[in-house]
C-alpha cells in the first residue's frame, strides 16, 4: 500500500521498497535512496540519491509548508489527500474556504450552468471573489441568501449533473 500525498494539490504516491541497508523509496518509476540528516522541527536536511537538500518546514493540521531553495511548496499528508478526494468527487457542492458574506448571487435554483460560470460573489478579508461552477450542471439549491454571512466550510451552493437528454417522445 502506498503513502498518498498531495504536492501543491497534485497527487503524489510514495512506496518504501527497502529499509536496509539504505532507505529506498519509489515515486513513479524511480527509486530513490534517501537519508534524513536533520530531524529537529523546522529546519530539515534530507539526502536524496547522494544530494543534500536543506530548507524549512512547518506543519499546520495535515498540511506541511516546505521552503526549498527559492520556493515554497504546500504538501498534503495522507489525511489531506483523502479529504481532497472525498470533497472533489462529483464536485456537487461549493463550500466556503473562509468566512465571509454573500455579496451577490448570479444564478437561481434550476438554472443550467457551464463549468466556469460565475455563480456567486462573496467577500472575505475585504476582497470580493467570484466562485465559479466546478462543472456543467443544474443548480439544485442555494444555501445562503444574498447579504448574509457564512462560516468557513459552509455549504453555499449545490449542483447536480445535467439529466441525460431524453429521447423525443412519440406524438
Amino acid at each position: 500500500m502506498s503513502y498518498e500525498m498531495l504536492l501543491n494539490e497534485q497527487d503524489v504516491s510514495l512506496d518504501i521498497v527497502a529499509r536496509r541497508p539504505d532507505l529506498r523509496i519509489k515515486n513513479g518509476d524511480t527509486v530513490h535512496t534517501v537519508a534524513e540528516l536533520e530531524t529537529t522541527g523546522a529546519a530539515f536536511e534530507v539526502v536524496i540519491d547522494g544530494k543534500t537538500h536543506t530548507g524549512w518546514r512547518y506543519a499546520i493540521g495535515d498540511e506541511v509548508f516546505v521552503r526549498l531553495g527559492t520556493r515554497t511548496f504546500i504538501v498534503g499528508l495522507p489525511q489531506a489527500q483523502l479529504r481532497a478526494h472525498s470533497q472533489g468527487a462529483g464536485h456537487d457542492a461549493l463550500h466556503a474556504d473562509m468566512p465571509g458574506t454573500v455579496i451577490a448571487l448570479h444564478t437561481e435554483v434550476g438554472a443550467e450552468v457551464k463549468a466556469g460560470d460565475k455563480l456567486i460573489t462573496i467577500e472575505s478579508m475585504k476582497l470580493q471573489v467570484g466562485l465559479v461552477a466546478p462543472r456543467d450542471g443544474v443548480i439544485e439549491a442555494i444555501h445562503v441568501p444574498a447579504e448574509t454571512a457564512f462560516d468557513r466550510g459552509a455549504l453555499l451552493i449545490s449542483l447536480v449533473a445535467l439529466a441525460a437528454p431524453e429521447a423525443p417522445k412519440a406524438a
Binding site: 502506498s2 530548507g55 515554497t72 511548496f73 504538501v75 475585504k126 476582497l127
Partner: protein, 490 residues
Amino acid sequence: MLKKVLIANRGEIACRVIRTCKKLGIATVAIYHHEDRLAPHVKLADTAVQLKGDVPTASYLDQDQIIAICQANDVDGIHPGYGFLSENAGFVDRVTAAGITFIGPDAVSMKLMGDKIRSRDFARAHGVPVAPSAMQDGDLDEFLKQAEQVGFPLLIKASAGGGGKGMKIVRQASELKEQITTAASEAQRYFGDSRVYAERLVELPRHIEVQVLGDGEGNVVHLFERECSLQRRYQKIVEESPAPNLPRELRDRICNAAVELAKAAKYKNAGTVEFILGADGEFYFLEMNTRLQVEHPITEEVVGVDLVEAQLKVAAGEGIPFKQGDMKQTGWSIECRINAEEPEKDFRPAIGRIGRLRVPEGEGVRFDAGIVEGQAVTPAFDSMLAKLITFGTTREEAAKRMEQALSDLVMLGVPNNIDYLARIMRNPEFLAGKLHTGFLPQEADRLIAPDASPEEQIAAVLAAAFLDVDFRRIAFDIPEPHASIGFWRN
C-alpha cells in the same frame, strides 16, 4: 513637540509610527482588539489599551472609545496610520474639539481633497489637468456632440456605476451613438439609472503619484514621485521610486502640478496626489490621498527623510522640516507588499498561521512588518502582512536585492505571494521598466510558477513526510520481517 501619541491603527503601520516616536522621545499608546493581543504593536508601545467590542475592525473604528482612551491617558496627538479612521473628516473634527492634535490634514482640506468629484473640480479650477469628459444632461444629440469633442478613444461609464459594469470603449465616431445607447440601457438595468458619461480613455495608463507635505499656510514641498502601476484587483502590490522611463521634464511637470494643487488647498501634513499617465505623455489628476501611504518607505529611502517624523513636526506646528531645494532623489527603491493570498487562484485571500518567519537582512533591505511567529492570519483584517523594501544605487541593484530578499524571506503556514513577487523581479518586461496598470494580466502567463524539477518535488514531499509519525514508523521503526507492508489509515 507632542508628548504622547496614540496610534489609532494596528499591524505594520502602528509599529512604524511607534518606531519614530521612540526616536523622538515621544511616549506612545497602542490600541488593540483581543484578536491582536499578541501583536507586536501592543508590545512595542509604552502603553497598550484593549478595545471593547466583538468585531475587530469595528473596534479600531470606534471613535468614542478611542477619544476616551486618549483622555484617560493624557494623549496630546493621534496618528491614524492609513485605512481605518485616517480619512474620516468627522473624526478629525471630534479629535480637534477634544483638544487633541490630529496628525494629518485638517477636516476642511480632508473633505475637499478626499471627495473624488469635488477634488476633481477643484483640480480643474486650479489648472491641474483632469481627463477630458462629457456628462449627459438630457438631450442625447447634444451629449453625442460633446462626447465627440472630447476625442477618441472614449470610455463610456455609468454615472451611478462602479466596478467596470456597463463600461464601453469607443474608438470611432461611427460607433458612438450605438455604444452610448447600449451603455445607457445596461446602466438602467444594473443601477436603475440610465445616465452615462464619456471620458477620454488613457491607453496603457501608468499610475504615478507624488508625495507632498504642506504646513497648512500654503507652503508645500514635494518629495518626488512613486510608480504604482503594478496592481492586481485594483490594489498595488509593487511600487518604486523613482518611476522608470519617466523623462525628467515630465516628472517635474507632474510634481509641480501636485504642489500647485496642494498649495491651492492650503493642504496640511503628508498627502499623495495620484495621476494617470498615458503612453502619449499626457497626465491627468486622479485623486488625492489625505494620509500617509502604505508605500511611503520607498520615498524615505530615495529622499533620505523620515516621513513620520516630518508628520509629527508639522502637526506640532514646527513647520515643514526641510526645503524643496534640499530635496534630492538618490538611488532607487522598490517595495513589495507581502500578502496572505494565492496568486494562482486569482489572488484570493488566504488564512492560516505564521508558523515560521525568517526575515531577510543585509545592505539595502528593510522589512516593515507587524507580525510575529505563531500569529494567526484570520479573515478579520486586511490580507497585507508586511512590506519588503530594498534600496540600491540603480534600479537593477534594487531589483536584484529584492529578488534575493524575497528568496531569503521564509514565511510558512499561510499561502502568500512571496514567490510570485520574486518572479516579477525576474520578469524581463519589469526589468525593462515597461510598466502600466495592465502589466500583471499582460504578463500573467510568464508569471505562473514553473514546474518544479522531479528532484525538487521528491525533496519537498520527503521533507514533509518525515514530519509524519506514521511515515517515520514505517520507514524507521518496524522490525525487518514486517517492513514490507505499507501504511494504514484510520
